[in-house]
Subunit: 206 residues, 2 copies
């Protein structure tokens, strides 16, 4: 029985988290790697680092590049993509629901639907109505989950997770952790999963 696992740190507000959220469970499952979802807020991390709220987009030429790169990468991965009309898009409510969903069977499907809404359909996701519809589509008790997500204890769980991200040196998203090893970005997903599957640095050499 395999116990290979990776931690997947993400924020729905991050553009490169879109392809990573859509891909991570399927990639990991193919190599018997378990995904531990780690929703955290990227905004406070950027602020603690003295960066703006969307550092990739501070320089116009780089911002144009990132959107073009998103188009190309999504096409490579067979993912629909529509450039968001608002960026970064607020995602606090879905992030709180995701905090509630850690360890639940519906977590992966919820995260993929939230990201699909934001980056394929260009919809707002930080809204009760949008979340109620999305949770309902998954056959989940939307009202109860939204109430639990906005409960003080769950809010502080998300803040605590964000503090933990900072304490562990996480500086961006998506960030994949395998033990003490960090892999940053959708384009390191395959490498991180392979690392987890072979149980670290040298295990693959045998």
């Amino acid at each position: 029985m395999s116990t290979a696992a990776l931690e997947f740190w993400f924020d729905f507000a991050s553009n490169y988290c879109y392809p990573a959220v859509m891909r991570v469970e399927a990639l990991a499952a193919a190599q018997d790697v378990v995904v531990h979802w780690r929703p955290f807020l990227l905004g406070p991390v950027f602020r603690a680092m003295g960066r703006g709220e969307a550092p990739l987009f501070e320089h116009p030429a780089k911002g144009r590049y990132v959107w073009r790169d998103m188009e190309r990468r999504c096409r490579l991965h067979g993912l629909p993509f529509r450039r968001p009309s608002v960026f970064p898009r607020r995602a606090l409510l879905p992030m709180r629901i995701a905090t509630l969903g850690v360890g639940q069977a519906w977590m992966g499907a919820f995260c993929r639907r939230a990201m699909h809404a934001a980056f394929a359909l260009d919809r707002e996701i930080d809204e009760d109505g949008a979340m109620r519809e999305l949770l309902g589509d998954l056959g989940l008790p939307a009202d109860r989950l939204i109430a639990a997500a906005t409960d003080a204890g769950n809010k502080s769980a998300l803040r605590a997770r964000t503090d933990q991200a900072l304490a562990r040196g996480i500086f961006g998203a998506p960030m994949l952790l395998v033990g003490g090893e960090m892999f940053w970005g959708d384009d390191r997903l395959e490498e991180a999963v392979a690392w987890a599957a072979r149980g670290g640095d040298d295990a693959g050499a045998s």
Copy 2:
């Protein structure tokens, strides 16, 4: 006869240019793509963008990550790597020699040796002695080339190339251009070469 080509914009001072310089010609040749070398100075580009001289390393956690990523990526590519004791390392003289080498048969071999010295051997490369030895090893007239490289006309050719980089929206390195399409980073090398080989976006669909 294929006329597929890509422009490879690079600076020896950039860490991610190391694996890219080592790999680009072999990858491109395997798909009948011609590499046009485009040496430019990243420092003035960063300054024009209001960034520091080594933006990847401004935040300690991110800096640590980048070196670890370099170790892992170089190992994946079978490239020796030693973390430079000085970074960024000055590279003006080799960049001037590379400016002279554009279109010359020795360009690829020269670039790979300069990068090997900096990132595999942890050697200074912005020195007459180091360049004389390296050019000599390639069977080239070192004294004549160094004199030509530091000639006013060649110096201004490198400055002009750097201005051209800015004008074309280049914000980092390595940057690969295929027509108007930009690909940034060693981890986009395969994608850029494939794009060039199939002559653009949709040609591959046929």
